[in-house]
């Protein structure tokens, strides 16, 4: 899969090499972020401390990649003055990298909470949170797929899934609040779970942002903040 965002009839020049380089770095970041999220969730579900620690270790790598994407972007903009799709790609790449980095940060946060949670028995069987994680992971995967395969319609579809995650998050928050009201000893665990849910909600938001950027990249229409493509 080596399609470039560039529509230029020539593809051997330094310009497309640099763009391909940025794309590859983004893909690397996406795969690392996805893996970190998976590892964090496994750390939570399987109560595995070793995995939780590894998530934190990997985060620095993503931070470095975020910086390197920005450097590549600014170098390319300064030296090649990209226009049209290439120009949008520069803006979008920078934003996507920063969203991916934040997703990884949220994964670190989840890993830390899981360390806390592991100290005590389970409050309740984890059902809603893995579901949220599953949806969020799907969103991340699909948004990157939309980027690679130039599928703005897929990106549009991803945005809708964010609502689902939000709904689960709200419902879970209510549920956990009731736990805390009933039994103050559950407060720490309930709070940690709330935070994990919130992290996943944030991750879904970031994925939504990525999807919006992908849509903007291919359609040149900004659909952020509930602006529909038709309006």
């Amino acid at each position: 899969m080596t399609t470039t965002p560039s529509n230029a009839p020539y593809s051997n020049g330094p310009a497309s090499e640099q763009i391909a380089n940025i794309r590859e770095t983004l893909l690397l970041m996406a795969s690392l972020a996805n893996r970190n999220l998976s590892l964090a969730m496994r750390a939570l579900v399987e109560r595995d401390e070793k995995l939780a620690a590894s998530v934190e270790a990997e985060d620095s790598q993503l931070d470095e990649l975020e910086i390197s994407v920005d450097e590549l972007v600014i170098n390319h903009m300064a030296t090649h003055a990209p226009v049209a799709t290439d120009c949008r790609f520069m803006l979008v790449a920078s934003k996507i990298s920063s969203n991916l980095e934040r997703i990884a940060d949220q994964a670190v946060s989840i890993a830390r909470r899981s360390l806390e949670l592991n100290k005590e028995p389970l409050l309740k069987p984890l059902i809603d949170i893995p579901r949220m994680a599953q949806i969020a992971e799907g969103m991340l995967r699909d948004s990157v797929t939309a980027l690679i395969e130039r599928k703005p319609e897929l990106a549009q579809e991803i945005i809708k899934r964010d609502k689902e995650v939000d709904a689960i998050n709200k419902q879970l928050a209510r549920e956990l609040t009731s736990f805390m009201l009933e039994d103050p000893t559950t407060i720490t665990r309930a709070l940690n779970l709330t935070i994990v849910a919130r992290c996943l909600e944030r991750i879904a938001d970031h994925c939504k942002n990525i999807a919006e950027e992908v849509y903007y990249l291919y359609q040149a229409i900004d659909i952020r903040h509930d602006r529909t493509p038709t309006s």
Partner: protein, 300 residues
Amino acid sequence: MVTTKASLMSQTQPTTMMDESIPTTQTTEVVHTPVATPSASDKAARLNAPTIIDINNVDFYYGQSKALHGINFPIKEKLVTAFIGPSGCGKSTLLRCLNRMNDLVDGTRIGAGSIKISGVDIYDPSVDVIELRKRVGMVFQKSNPFPKSIYENIVYGLRLQGINNKGRLDETVERSLRGAALWEEVRDRLHTSALGLSGGQQQRLCIARAIAVEPEIILMDEPCSALDPIATVKVEELIHQLKQDYTIVIVTHNMQQAGRCSDITAFFYMGRLIEIDATEKIFTNPTQKQTEDYISGRFG
């Protein structure tokens, strides 16, 4: 029937890249992927590449007027070095000093300093200008194919050296034209006039003609200034390929061209070298204010 079914199946299969490339819940081992940070290390390597042309405090005069003031910098081997600057800043003058094309202009002289190519001072009286120009080829602003056939244009330099062996000439023509990414376009009409080529093809022919004599260094004096954007891109791609084998020095008025195809950029103003650095550095964070003003189009 079978084939239709197979193709249908392959179409309906979801093609997500993530499935293959990202290890999901199965892996327990933490794999540290080595992260490449391309730009930083590359930039340093470029600035530390071996020097091929050493320009030492060169002053240059047209009659009484001083055109270059104490130019002092090295040109690195097998890299593209771009000279930029406003008109009359001396960038073309310096370029033409490198193969002594300025000798053709009456009243020019190097007042002080020296230019050394592979350690030899090219303005030393013992230097044969003809030999120098064979090693330091040049491509001009206006594409100047001779009104001969494409073939004769390429072999011109060899014929000057008295090489008339048909096999050797044929081989050189093919090699040079391939090197200039022109072979596929002209292989069927090698013996037709070079003037029938388009502007971009003519300029690539001139590049092919220059590499036919196997120089080490190719000087390009605004090679794309008379070309349309597509032809320009082709020449730039060619420059990108040529730097595998040649050291290229390119003078350009088009800053974006310097950005696109050079590794190192030198900025000249009023006959002085203002700044020289890796191209990305010049274009993102120049040290000198004059450089920044010029590249952002705020000059004067």
